[in-house]
């Protein structure tokens, strides 16, 4: 039983990190209906910048995290400006191909020797790992930090989206670009802000990921990116609580499968669940069933 609860805690930690990445996918999908395949690589860049910040440049951890978040927000805005905006009103698939191109670019460019280099790097812990024994359960300080930070960010995002003008603009753009423009919303700026927020979240996820699973390399973003995206689809893409719910489910499925079935089956079972859920709820767990207009 304790073993099971510990696995659930591990799953929660993983799920919360997926949630940070999934939010970026789902927010971007909400405003431009684009699967931003480069998002997982922004997460990778965030992890590297965080690592350089606290381990190489010797910045205090919060400053390193903030630097990574700001840099990735900028990166996200630039990616949108250069690779997606020219294709905004082209067939959707064109922007998707562009996203795949950007993703490959970030991976290979980061692999260059004068950028991050092609090798795996071991991330030193910025603080010693401590395990507490709470009611027979072993809880690590990293888990607590991840939990608190992600929860704080989720609340912040909730306030941003439902209590500010910017958030209202984002919700409007998600419904209809033209109507939003008629209402005086600056659509381009709003989309840029969405990319910035999503990328900053991914960067935070990247740094936390590097602290919790201390090994980074230029292709590390592919699988977490894919899992987070799957989580967003599982919950209903474009819906923010859905992304969090989907991510928590993915985290549990992955951890429990590794613990009780086989770690090799982890991905297969996670995606099998996705397909099953989609078969019964074609727009995800919290997705609205859209009425087809002729």
């Amino acid at each position: 039983m304790e073993h099971f609860l510990e696995q659930v805690l591990n799953g929660l930690q993983l799920g919360l990190m997926y949630a940070l990445i999934a939010l970026g996918y789902t927010m971007v999908y909400g405003v431009v209906q684009l699967i931003n395949f480069a998002h997982g690589d922004v997460f990778m860049v965030g992890a590297f910048l965080g690592y350089f910040g606290f381990a190489v440049w010797g910045l205090p951890l919060p400053v390193a995290i903030l630097t990574a978040m700001v840099a990735c927000a900028l990166l996200g805005v630039i990616i949108e400006r250069v690779a997606y905006r020219p294709l905004r009103y082209a067939p959707k698939i064109a922007a998707l191909i562009s996203a795949i191109g950007v993703s490959l670019f970030l991976e290979y460019f980061s692999s260059l020797k004068f950028v991050f280099g092609p090798n795996y790097r071991v991330v030193p812990r910025p603080f010693p790992e401590v395990h507490w024994n709470i009611a027979g359960l072993s809880v690590s300080n990293i888990q607590v930090i991840v939990f608190v930070v992600v929860l704080f960010m989720l609340i912040l995002l909730q306030i941003l989206i439902y209590r500010t003008k910017t958030g209202m603009a984002m919700r409007t753009v998600a419904v209809d670009h033209n109507a939003a423009r008629l209402m005086g919303v600056n659509v381009d700026t709003t989309i840029s802000i969405t990319f910035a927020i999503g990328s900053a979240f991914a960067a935070l996820g990247g740094v936390l990921y590097a602290i919790a699973y201390p090994q980074i390399h230029p292709f590390m973003g592919i699988m977490p990116g894919l899992k987070a995206f799957t989580a967003a689809v599982l919950g209903g893409i474009g819906i923010i609580p859905g992304a969090v719910l989907g991510a928590l489910i993915m985290g549990q499925v992955e951890t429990l499968t590794s613990a009780y079935i086989s770690s090799q089956m982890r991905d297969a079972i996670a995606f099998a669940i996705l397909i099953l859920v989609l078969l019964f709820r074609p727009t995800g767990l919290l997705g609205r069933t859209e009425t087809e207009k002729v």
Partner: protein, 335 residues
């Protein structure tokens, strides 16, 4: 049998190309390395035409094409490894079985998931591709011959340019005849507007599944040939990144154009190798970067693809010439 004019030119062009390659082989201009690249290009043409039917013509977004390519490769490769011995009959039988297995799996998975639309279908097929990859990595637990995560070798390497070329010609004709038949028309109408097609009395589920099965069987066939041309199969060669390769070939070629798919498939395979040669040892790290930039720039410059909706004349059956005007197959809005 009276050979129609365009079909005649098609074969004339094929004979000319074949003679050209033969001449280059005998003069020594075509080194074994570039021969391998050319063969790879033809194999990718077959696989990409499969996705062209599924996505380019029927509009069903698939991100799992490489899974079927891999299923064909592993099925045909393993069968021939165990029962073959370089026997040509077994080679063809294993190819057919590989295609049939890919097609059958496509039928089983397609029936339920083709009800999903656009991005949801894409992510479901992507997930299926990952499940297949996990299966390949662990397949050796059931059948040790599959090699599992360390890869499989030992398939008789009996496929060579002549055979691959003839198979490619047959596949192109097959796809052409499908696209320009009533079945193909039904598929195109589903791409343009599924509800309108339904209203016109087209059994949309049937045609979607048909296109999916046919396209995946072609991927399986391509995989089978690959297994007989490249001595080493590894699950990583068939993961979702490979599916992206097929997807970007079909999209950059232009949705709804066989010509585009064929030209882009060949161009794409050669581009990767030419970059390797041009960059040399010192700049080889830049290959992926330049490749990615070319990808982004070309899609921004031509978002509709190279040949969107257009075909070379010789790929259109004669009796349909009146359809080659503007009203013919304009590219879909891509889901």
């Amino acid at each position: 049998m009276k050979l129609s004019r365009n079909t005649f030119f098609y074969f004339a062009g094929a004979v000319f190309f074949f003679a050209l390659v033969k001449a280059m082989q005998f003069s020594g201009m075509l080194t074994p390395y570039w021969q391998l690249v050319l063969d790879q290009a033809l194999i990718i043409v077959i696989g990409a035409l499969g996705l062209s039917i599924i996505y380019g013509f029927t509009g069903q977004f698939s991100l799992g094409h490489a899974a079927f390519y891999g299923l064909g490769a592993y099925t045909a490769g393993a069968l021939d490894k165990v029962y073959g011995n370089g026997n040509m009959l077994f080679f063809f039988l294993s190819l057919l079985t590989g295609a049939a297995v890919a097609g059958l799996v496509a039928l089983l998975i397609g029936l339920p998931i083709l009800r999903l639309r656009s991005d949801y279908l894409g992510i479901a097929t992507l997930g299926f591709g990952i499940i297949v990859r996990v299966g390949m990595e662990n397949g050796n637990k059931l059948f040790p011959v599959l090699g599992g995560a360390t890869g499989m070798s030992g398939t008789p390497q009996v496929a060579h340019f002549d055979l691959i070329f003839i198979l490619t010609l047959i596949v192109i004709l097959l796809v052409r005849n499908f696209i320009f038949s009533t079945y193909g028309r039904a598929c195109t109408s589903i791409r343009e507007d599924e509800i309108a097609a339904d209203v016109m009395g087209i059994d949309t589920t049937r045609y979607k599944v048909m296109a999916f099965v046919l396209g995946c069987a072609l991927a399986g066939l391509a995989g089978g040939i690959y297994a007989h041309r490249y001595p080493f199969l590894h699950p990583a060669s068939f993961d979702f990144l490979k599916s992206f390769d097929f997807l970007l070939i079909v999209v950059l070629g232009g949705l709804g154009s066989m010509t585009g798919t064929i030209v882009t498939a060949v161009g794409w395979v050669f581009l990767l190798e030419v970059l390797r040669v041009v960059l040399g040892q010192n700049f080889i790290d830049w290959r992926g970067v330049i490749y990615a930039l070319i990808l982004v720039v070309s899609i921004i410059v031509r978002p509709q693809g190279l040949f969107s909706g257009k075909e070379l004349r010789l790929l259109i059956p004669d009796h349909l010439k009146m359809l080659t005007g503007k009203e013919h197959t304009h590219a879909g809005s891509g889901n």
